[in-house]
């Protein structure tokens, strides 16, 4: 199932038509992050695909208008996801020279992945932990909306892709993974903060269908901490008992 870059490159059409598996979607989005030419192609092809959709225009029942609009007004809006060290849409008063223009595309592409992952992730939260939903989702939103949110992605050694968005301002990070292998029987994935202060457990990670995991909220990071993921006995460990399948960071202040 692993594809090389060249193979991935030809996926642009299928990706734009949403004709890829979730796993391929994430891998291609990660590929986009590093390929400006591919991003341009995808942006252009999306314009064409959109026309296939608008050509089908229908007339919504007028009764739907008010409730839909009202529901929106009652919903908190997400802030922009931005590149490391660069405010997204800085107020005019900030002035100053622009930094790191090139990283914007990466974050934009990654934001797509996150939006996709969160969409599916919160869907599972909805179904399984109705009462817990509020706080978890709010925390996740807070991190993703933070003006200093930084995103990092890394392939997981045992298969899949991990994404960590962290905010120093919020003192929290959000972990999302996709395409994770099911852990061996009687074992589970465990998240860790790993850094100068040692290794501290940061929660067990449930695997949803298609290897989706998260969004998991991670708090309590300190300077130099990375987020690590290991496979542990079912009940979890206090110290990692196997080498991390992925480490991303730093996430701390």
């Amino acid at each position: 199932m692993r594809s090389g870059d060249q193979d991935l490159h030809t996926l642009a059409g299928a990706y734009v038509l949403d004709a890829v598996s979730d796993d391929e979607r994430v891998r291609f989005a990660a590929h986009l992050a590093g390929c400006a030419q591919c991003r341009d192609e995808v942006d252009e092809l999306r314009e064409a695909a959109a026309r296939l959709g608008t050509a089908q225009a229908a007339r919504p029942r007028p009764e739907l208008r008010e409730p839909t609009i009202r529901a929106a007004y009652r919903t908190r809006q997400m802030g922009p996801v931005i590149a490391e060290g660069e405010p997204a849409r800085r107020p005019a008063s900030w002035g100053g020279p622009r930094r790191k223009r090139a990283t914007r595309g990466l974050v934009a592409a990654a934001a797509v992945v996150i939006a996709a992952a969160i969409g599916i992730g919160t869907h599972y939260v909805d179904m399984q932990h109705q009462p817990a939903r509020g706080t978890a989702v709010t925390g996740v939103d807070a991190v993703l909306s933070a003006p200093d949110a930084v995103m990092r992605t890394a392939p997981v050694g045992s298969g899949g892709m991990a994404i960590v968005v962290s905010s120093r301002h919020e003192h929290m990070a959000v972990f999302i993974a996709h395409g994770l292998r099911r852990p061996p029987p009687a074992s589970r994935y465990e998240l860790w903060l790993m850094g100068p202060r040692g290794e501290r457990p940061a929660g067990m990670l449930a695997i949803h269908p298609k290897g989706m995991a998260g969004p998991a909220l991670i708090a309590g990071q300190s300077a130099g901490d990375m987020v690590g993921l290991t496979i542990e006995p079912e009940r979890g460990s206090l110290r990692p008992t196997s080498p991390p399948v992925v480490m991303i960071g730093p996430t701390g202040p």
């Binding site: 030809t10 996926l11 642009a12 059409g13 299928a14 734009v16 038509l17 949403d18 004709a19 890829v20 598996s21 991003r39 942006d43 252009e44 092809l45 999306r46 314009e47 064409a48 695909a49 959109a50 026309r51 296939l52 959709g53 608008t54 050509a55 089908q56 225009a57 229908a58 007339r59 919504p60 029942r61 739907l64 208008r65 409730p67 839909t68 609009i69 529901a71 929106a72 007004y73 919903t75 908190r76 809006q77 997400m78 802030g79 922009p80 996801v81 997204a88 849409r89 595309g105 934009a108 934001a111 939006a115 996709a116 969409g119 599916i120």
Partner: protein, 203 residues
């Protein structure tokens, strides 16, 4: 269709006005990102018909399509700050959300047995797509451009976009290698893009 309250299906719609509405949408979305409710009302009026249309095309079920339309319109409000005009038009952004949501819904409900897929092909073909298309200028242009694709390109693009199949499923349906389908989706869309771009340039 009578008066074009929803821009997308207005039969008497001039192309210039289409484009004006389109660039207006970009501005509106930027205002929505800053929390403007008035701008959101306008975005709803401008785009909900497109969103419902693509949902209905993919899902077929009217009730589910309305749900998806409402979900997508809520996403438009919630995620407006992610819209970046440097990366594409507002229409493209909204339709990406809409198609994605419709496809996710259809996939979560469809059990993918080959038999069902085979039965589905009997229903979903190009003629069906053409018949369903409203006779608006925009739709006519898309139709014309779709007709300029090779048959395989057209089938690949239609089955993916309008029926929500993955390229692997399309390959299975058409008995064509998956790699070929991937390629046809890409070059089909490129041709569509070029054709739509040319059509714009003519007037």
């Amino acid at each position: 269709m009578t008066e074009g309250r929803w821009r997308g299906n207005a039969p008497d719609h001039a192309r210039g006005a289409d484009r004006q509405a389109a660039s207006g949408l970009d501005e509106l979305l930027l205002a929505v990102a800053r929390g403007s409710e008035r701008a959101y009302d306008a975005v709803y009026d401008l785009t909900s018909g497109w969103v419902l249309g693509v949902a209905r095309k993919v899902l077929r079920d009217p009730a589910q399509s309305e749900e998806v339309m409402q979900e997508v319109m809520l996403e438009v409000w919630r995620l407006a700050s992610r819209f970046d005009p440097a990366r594409g038009s507002g229409i493209s952004w909204v339709m990406t959300l809409a198609h994605r949501r419709a496809v996710d819904r259809v996939r979560s409900e469809r059990s993918h047995t080959i038999r069902e897929l085979r039965a589905a092909t009997a229903v979903i073909d190009y003629d069906d797509v053409i018949e369903a298309v409203e006779a608006s200028l925009d739709a006519q242009r898309v139709q014309r451009c779709m007709a300029s694709l090779t048959e395989l390109q057209r089938e690949c693009v239609s089955l993916a976009y309008y029926s929500g199949y993955t390229y692997r499923e399309v390959a299975e349906l058409l008995s064509v290698p998956a790699g070929t389908v991937k390629t046809r989706m890409r070059d089909g869309l490129i041709r569509l893009r070029d054709c739509l771009g040319d059509a714009k340039g003519v007037q």
